[in-house]
């Protein structure tokens, strides 16, 4: 079983917390060596997690990393095959009811009733949390109002858009203010506006004192919202730290260039490599190139060189590294599990704690 003992001590340069980092307020979640098997599949494979209370904690991982399975175990919906976890000091198996009364979960796929109206869905949950009939209706209206769903309250949920459904789902999770809320990929599939609304809700939640654990596939989202981030891969934490620490370990930015003509890619690749002085990566998309750099001046120069050489550029962007790039930096392979033997071979960022070696 992987334990905290294998983590690195404080890094003098970056000031990374010691492995036994415990905030004064205590831990909302403390998981040690969680394992979940589904038959042959090992969905979660020795997960260690320490989530301080009162913050937004991001769990970042590609498809199939085990995010949902981990969350479902922590929310008492699944029993771990091995290992244990405590939520606010309560064991998730032996004291499941105590855990349930403190946490709420918004699953990856909306768990509201499509046949019922938004209002009815909320009244139902208010009643189940113990509100008397009238108070339940009042609370349901309040929630609809706050989540911008007042007009749609009398409509069946099957007529809602993805963003509305998501908001209703979150509203249903805070009928009684939870101490901890799990949000499983709350913005996947939402348009930028809806995504922003969800982000605002998350910020409001944490401002009100609720600890938020959210999973995401976007580094950008984790960066925007989370105070700390755990990167998980194949059911294990492969890196943990603040967003700054994480980005420092993978290079703080990336240049993405899309060319007009795929035939010019080799030429462009050479030019960019020389101008930027870093490795340039040919993406799966035949017109796309990317390079890890955060120096805008160099980027400007490199783009000028491309223009001078007659390489047509359709678009370019200087932004944060994608999840794929984070993975490449952390594990030396792309996010999709492709080559299991490679694990742990390549160098990892020096500023990130390691949960497993």
């Amino acid at each position: 079983m992987a334990t905290n003992d294998t983590r690195r001590p404080v890094d003098a340069e970056t000031g990374l917390e010691s492995p036994a980092w415990v905030p004064p307020s205590g831990l909302a979640i403390e998981a040690a060596g969680l394992v979940k098997h589904f038959g042959e599949t090992v969905a979660v494979d020795g997960l260690d997690l320490r989530v301080p209370s009162g913050m937004v904690y991001g769990v970042l991982g590609p498809n199939g990393a085990g995010k949902t399975t981990a969350i479902r175990m922590l929310a008492t919906l699944l029993r771990p095959t091995e290992g244990s976890a405590r939520v606010f000091g309560h064991d998730i198996v032996d004291e499941a009811d105590a855990v349930r009364s403190r946490v709420s979960m918004t699953g990856q796929f909306a768990s509201v009733d499509e046949d019922l109206t938004g209002f009815e869905n909320l009244v139902l949950l208010c009643r189940l949390w113990g509100h008397p009939r009238r108070a339940a209706k009042k609370r349901a209206s309040e929630l609809l109002e706050a989540f911008g769903l007042a007009d749609a309250g009398a409509r069946q949920v099957k007529t809602y858009s993805g963003g509305m459904r998501r908001r209703l789902d979150i509203a249903a999770s805070i009928v009684v203010t939870p101490e901890l809320i799990f949000l499983d990929e709350p913005t996947t599939g939402l348009d930028p506006r809806s995504r922003n609304q969800v982000w605002e809700i998350v910020r409001a939640l944490v401002a009100a004192g609720t600890t938020v654990l959210l999973t995401t596939q976007y580094l950008d989202e984790a960066d925007q919202l989370a105070d700390r981030i755990a990167v998980i891969d194949r059911g294990r934490v492969i890196a943990e730290g603040t967003s700054t620490q994480l980005k420092a370990s993978v290079g703080s930015g990336a240049l993405h260039v899309r060319l007009l003509d795929p035939d010019q890619r080799p030429e462009a690749e050479g030019l960019l490599t020389r101008a930027l002085d870093v490795a340039v990566r040919a993406e799966a998309d035949p017109v796309a190139l990317s390079a890890r750099t955060s120096d805008p001046e160099r980027v400007a120069q490199a783009l000028t060189e491309l223009a001078r050489a007659g390489v047509g550029v359709a678009s370019f962007a200087l932004g944060q590294p994608s999840l794929d790039e984070v993975f490449l930096a952390l594990t030396g392979r792309p996010a999709e599990p492709a080559n299991p033997e490679l694990e742990g071979e390549t160098s990892r960022g020096p500023t990130i704690e390691e949960a497993s070696t």
Partner: protein, 277 residues
């Protein structure tokens, strides 16, 4: 100073609903079960088509069997109706208990139960509530059959009380039988497989009984099955109650079988529900 964007306004509102209520006391088993009953009622309100099985099905059965077999088996449809109606009542309701499992299976697949299962409530209420709601559906089916029967010439010898008692007994048995479908609804992965399995159990159970023909007319081996079939006992008890014969023993058997079904399938259902991924 930043400009107040619409998102910031939302944030204020969300923050205020978060702090605006105290935590109510935990609801008891009765409240939560009734809340789930209410949910099932709402679903009937929004999707009334689902009542098709408890209305059209019984009408079809009663008309078909009365006129198809009536003349041949009892000499006249009028006489046959007196015997066959309680049987069709039992058979139809037994048949539609199957939908309990189908509804639950669909519900679980949609993910609604994830939320219910993560609540600090008496767990069985999620399943008991819908079963109570099914009681309403069964009563409706019974009413449809009885009204149509009365129009066609059904005359219960023991009067209204006998009818009420026999429907009551039927509801007890249907509630008990529903636990079987509830369990299967949780265990089976697809709706079609569940449907197939339910039919495989229900067809022999309802047809190889004394609903349509007296068991004495059957080959010995078939008669043996008919005699142990709980539906046979249910139908005998219901006929007795409706027409005023003494059937205390048969009623006892039905109640014991019902209690047995609940005792076995209730806990088994809760076990598989808890285990369900």
């Amino acid at each position: 100073m930043s400009i107040s964007t619409p998102e910031e306004v939302a944030q204020e509102a969300v923050r205020s609903v978060l702090s605006s209520t105290a935590r109510p006391p935990r609801p008891d088993a009765l409240v939560t079960s009734l809340t789930f009953w209410w949910r099932a009622m709402l679903k009937i309100k929004h999707v009334p088509e689902q009542l098709f099985d408890v209305t059209a099905f019984p009408v079809m059965f009663l008309l078909m069997f009365t006129y198809l077999f009536g003349g041949a088996l009892a000499g006249s449809t009028g006489a046959y109706l007196q015997e066959v109606l309680p049987g069709i009542l039992a058979m139809t309701v037994a048949m539609i208990t199957m939908y309990t499992g189908l509804t639950l299976n669909r519900d679980i697949q949609k993910g609604v139960h994830d939320r219910f299962r993560s609540l600090p409530i008496w767990r069985p209420s999620t399943l008991v509530g819908p079963l109570l709601a099914d009681g309403v559906r069964y009563t409706l089916a019974a009413a449809v059959i009885l009204v149509l029967g009365l129009i066609l010439g059904f005359r219960p010898g023991a009067g209204p009380m006998g009818v009420v008692a026999s429907v009551g007994l039927l509801l007890v048995f249907a509630f008990a039988l529903s636990w079987v479908w509830t369990m299967l609804g949780i265990v089976m992965r697809s709706e079609n497989a569940l449907m197939g399995l339910s039919m495989m159990i229900l067809f022999p159970l309802t047809f190889i009984s004394n609903v349509f023909v007296p068991p004495e007319t059957l080959p010995r081996w078939l008669e043996a099955f008919v005699d142990v079939n709980p539906i046979t006992h249910l139908v005998t008890a219901m006929r007795g109650l409706v027409h005023g014969h003494s059937v205390t023993g048969e009623i006892g058997i039905v109640l014991v079988v019902s209690a047995g079904l609940v005792a076995v399938f209730g806990p088994l259902t809760m076990y598989v529900y808890r285990k369900k991924a």
